[in-house]
Symmetry: C2
Subunit: 146 residues, 2 copies
DNA sequence: ATGGCTGCAAATGTTTTGCAGCAAG
DNA sequence: CTTGCTGCAAAACATTTGCAGCCAT
């Protein structure tokens, strides 16, 4: 896991260099927060966490949004939307997975199902789509909330 | 299809009565727009369409939002988020389906795969979730945009 | 040194809310 | 009548943008 995280940072460095852009502490911090996060975070939550954990950085919320936009564009992170507090982000360093979401308490269970992944590819090629990503959420009530 | 639509309107009447609420023209108009829509509409698009098709109704955008919230809550419509123009709504009177979305031109193909539906139920019960709905989007490039 | 990146504040776009009047039950 | 619903305008959010200065390269 730590290993995956270092890989992600290296990947960021590579992408930035390759695009002729600049490597800034801010983009790295945002990515690191997501690499260590145990939940899906909103831009605001990431911003607050940075102010808490790296108070000397004096980052602005706009920069967080710009970093998130950039990181998502280069596919290092992913966003999903559910509930009422805007986009939530997670790192792509974790294995790919989908989500079971409890609509009552907000609990999220991550899962992967190879069979579903295969069918998705089949459906895409049948429709002549070239898939870049997908997002699947099952909504319902978890055992505690039923 | 027309049949399904009438059913949906009846369903709305039933729900409203059962909840001791009031049956208003506005909620009906919003539902009807979605029943006849051939695409996923935003609140604003629905609002504009109403002003066009029922100019005498003098509906306000806030009412459209309130109607959409209500209709989604009672499960007559569904919202999905993609692209940059907020939530998009569609009626649930159509058969259940998932979406293939072209990230370049916005084209949407709807599909259903029984095998996937079955696996989803299996995953849910394995995790002791009681599923109420799900949402699945495959993102990529359609044949024209590759 | 040069051009991308940042922080700040202002602007934008979307959705929600307070309120007084209206209308369905 | 009573209470939910509506339209309007203002407010609340979430996200984006313009700009002057800063900092990687």
């Amino acid at each position: 896991m730590t290993n995956n995280n270092e890989q992600a940072i290296d990947e960021l460095k590579k992408i930035v260099k390759q695009k002729g852009l600049k490597y800034t502490e801010q983009r790295e911090i945002v990515l690191k927060i997501l690499l260590h996060a145990h939940a899906h975070l909103t831009a605001e939550e990431i911003y607050n966490q940075i102010k808490l954990e790296e108070p000397e950085s004096n980052i602005g919320i706009a920069t967080v949004y710009r970093a998130l936009g950039f990181l998502e564009e280069v596919n290092l992170i992913t966003s999903i939307v559910f509930g009422n507090d805007g986009k939530k982000y997670e790192s792509n360093a974790k294995e790919h997975h989908d989500h079971l979401i409890c609509t009552s308490c907000g609990k999220i269970v991550e899962f992967v199902d190879d069979e579903i992944e295969k069918r998705q590819d089949k459906i895409a090629s049948k429709n002549k789509f070239k898939i870049t990503s997908h997002s699947m959420q099952l909504y319902g009530l978890c055992s505690n909330c039923q």
